[in-house]
């Protein structure tokens, strides 16, 4: 299992648009990717579950992946989050 912690930097938090991007990206990998926030963990490929995190700016999230391309998946998602999802 691969795990990394990231911080949401977008002013509007993990809202519909970034969540769409994240879910799309997670869906491209074979590994099971999950996102964790204080005890809640959700499937990264589900936009609905991502939204239920209601992760505002400054929230720390753990990205976890298990599977053949786990490291690539976590790296790619970390990059996306740190690039502010290409938004704002």
């Amino acid at each position: 299992m691969v795990e990394k912690t990231v911080t949401i930097q977008n002013a509007h938090g993990l809202h519909v648009r970034p969540a769409t991007k994240l879910a799309d990206l997670a869906g491209k990998f074979k590994s099971q990717v999950t996102i964790h926030k204080d005890g809640q963990d959700v499937a990264a490929r589900s936009i609905i579950e991502l939204l239920t995190l209601a992760a505002a700016q400054g929230t720390q999230l753990k990205i976890r992946a298990e599977g053949p391309d786990a490291a690539e998946a976590v790296d790619a998602i970390e990059k996306l989050v740190n690039a502010r999802f290409g938004l704002d």
């Binding site: 509007h12 519909v16 648009r17 239920t52 209601a54 992760a55 938004l87």
Partner: protein, 580 residues
């Protein structure tokens, strides 16, 4: 042909096509799906999903074309992703629990919404997502219910809106120029729908139980807002009769407006009376002028806040305020600070409260949301450099609140001064009188407030302890109750003694029934929906101040609202017989 009877709340006769709102309120078919029909239902759901995704794609394309620089379309792309993401769980519950697709969709979305709203949400993010999920649910249900909704093309200029009830947030998004009439299942004379309809001179009938079940989108309907009758799919003869009535009514209204426009607003004995307009969108300033308004007595600013995802910037607000000042061409414009809470909900700003009418609303909410408050004050002050602006605070109940609000205004003024931004340093700051404590202690509040405006809609509800949107107790909502009349008179007296201008901007000031009475109490400034002004002017031009005083004295001697109304009707009928 089906004839339905309800409560008439806004006069006039129109013939149009039924247009159903409130799809999420439709009865959810909860019956279990027969086992052999399960796959058929799954297929029906899949068709609806395809239709909705297609519809969203079309919206995205349209938005991109219309506003290429705007990112709004991306939100809708997200909605398509949400729809697709819902599919597995919905199909699962159709198969496993034999739910109908409608029920399965609603249940799934309700669960998500519950999850979002069940915990602390300091950022307001979860509340905003609720709007997205509700939107997606609505689209799916609409697709599943098919044509019955008839919402697809939007209102078309012949539309009569049918709904269970209309909330302020729903109606604020409607294009009113495309709506001929309103019919709702709930509500009374003081419901939001009624006030809105009268404000725009749109005929309306409320309180017809189950009407949204009896009418289908596209049905031909006649609305008689004077008698409270709605006729669905009328026969040829009825239609002919009502076409003639429709024409007559329009001509009476227009005649009064034309007749009054050029007449001075003064009593028979020559006392000048200010006739001002209540508006809730900048475009309505033109209508106000057309109806002969001498200024804007109440410019509601809630319209700026209906989309919680795009709260108005200072510049956007400033432009809107300036637009109104420009239309009014030097005439006074009273801008009311944001007044939400109670029945005016804005998701992400207003909270769910047990007792919202007694809750955090009006100025109370502004103190909680200093960010919104200061932005609005900056915009209003900046606009004050371009015309005669007066600033008004809603829902004030104590002297301290006025002091506090004025301190914030002073602070914002200093800030603008430091930035070298110009504004009117003399801009008057006043308050609404709509809470009993403020009305009873009006003399004390006058030490800080530079003007008063009596908001009778809320004042009556608080004095009578009657929720104005609860139709069960609607008969107890009595603007003509002796307690209300005494209180109004004492506020007007207090203002006169303190030499503070007093205006009235509630429903009562636009009702010709009360015009002479209010004049008799000493009221010299009336603010009402533009379409009500010609009739009010007609009454005030026909009475002298001594006559009005006599009417006030006689009315105050009567023991109950019923007799007061009867007495005033008798007096007013002599002036405008066509109204009764």
């Amino acid at each position: 042909m089906q004839i339905l009877k309800g409560t008439p709340v806004s006069p006039g006769i129109v013939i149009g096509e039924a247009f159903l709102l409130d799809l999420e309120e439709y009865r959810m078919p909860r019956r279990a799906v027969e086992p052999e029909q399960i796959e058929q239902e799954v297929a029906r759901f899949q068709t609806a999903v395809d239709a909705v995704v297609g519809e969203i794609t079309e919206d995205v394309r349209r938005l991109k074309a219309a506003m290429p620089e705007d990112d709004l379309h991306k939100i809708f792309e997200g909605h398509a992703a949400i729809v697709n993401d819902l599919v597995p769980s919905v199909v699962d519950s159709i198969r496993k629990y034999r739910f109908t697709p409608e029920h399965a969709v609603s249940k799934r979305v309700r669960t998500i919404v519950k999850q979002l709203t069940s915990r602390d949400d300091p950022s307001g993010l979860a509340a905003r997502f609720v709007v997205d999920f509700n939107d997606v649910e609505k689209r799916l249900l609409r697709a599943l219910f098919g044509e019955r909704g008839g919402l697809k093309g939007g209102a078309n200029g012949k539309s009569v809106v049918f709904a269970k009830d209309l909330t302020p947030s729903q109606t604020i998004g409607l294009d009113r120029t495309k709506i001929l009439g309103f019919v709702t299942e709930f509500g009374g004379r003081t419901s939001h729908t009624a006030i809105l309809a009268r404000a725009h001179g749109i005929p309306a009938v409320v309180g017809i139980a189950d009407v949204t079940r009896d009418v289908s989108g596209g049905d031909t309907v006649i609305v008689d807002g004077t008698k409270g009758i709605v006729i669905v799919e009328p026969d040829g003869e009825t239609l002919k009769k009502y076409r003639a009535l429709e024409k007559n009514f329009i001509s009476f209204e227009r005649r009064t407006a034309d007749e009054m426009r050029s007449q001075p607003s003064e009593t028979r004995d020559g006392i000048a009376i200010a006739l001002l307009a209540n508006i809730e969108r900048p475009e309505e300033a033109a209508t106000a002028r057309d109806y002969g308004a001498g200024g804007i007595g109440l410019f509601r600013t809630e319209f700026l806040y209906f989309d919680p995802r795009n709260l108005p910037t200072e510049k956007e607000q400033f432009e809107k305020y300036r637009q109104v000042l420009k239309s009014m061409d030097g005439r006074p414009v009273t801008i009311r600070a944001l007044d939400i809470g109670a029945d005016k909900e804005v998701s992400g700003i207003t909270a769910q409260e047990r007792n919202p009418f007694l809750g955090c609303r009006g100025i109370r909410l502004l103190f909680e949301r200093m960010d919104l408050f200061r932005t609005q004050l900056r915009a209003i002050l900046r606009a004050s450099a371009f015309g005669k602006v007066r600033l008004m605070f809603p829902m004030v109940s104590t002297l301290d609140e006025i002091k506090q609000a004025k301190a914030i205004v002073a602070d914002v003024r200093e800030e603008l001064d430091a930035e070298g931004v110009s504004f009117d340093p003399e801009m008057p700051v006043g308050i609404m009188i709509e809470v009993p404590s403020a009305a009873i202690a009006a003399d004390i509040l006058c030490t800080e407030a530079e003007f008063l405006s009596i908001g009778t809609n809320d004042l009556v509800q608080y004095v009578m302890a009657v929720d104005r949107v609860n139709e069960k107790i609607a008969p107890l909502y009595q603007p003509a109750h002796p307690a209300v009349l005494r209180l109004i008179r004492s506020v007007i007296d207090a203002g006169a003694r303190a030499e503070r201008p007093v205006s009235m901007c509630g429903e009562m000031s636009g009702d010709p029934l009360f015009t002479a009475l209010l004049l008799g109490f000493g009221l010299r400034s009336f603010s009402a929906v533009p379409s009500a002004l010609p009739e009010v002017k007609k009454v005030l031009r026909s009475v002298s101040i001594p006559e009005a005083r006599q009417i006030a004295q006689d009315a105050l001697a009567l023991p109950d609202a019923h007799q007061v109304v009867e007495y005033l009707t008798e007096k007013t009928r002599r002036i405008i017989p066509e109204l009764f």
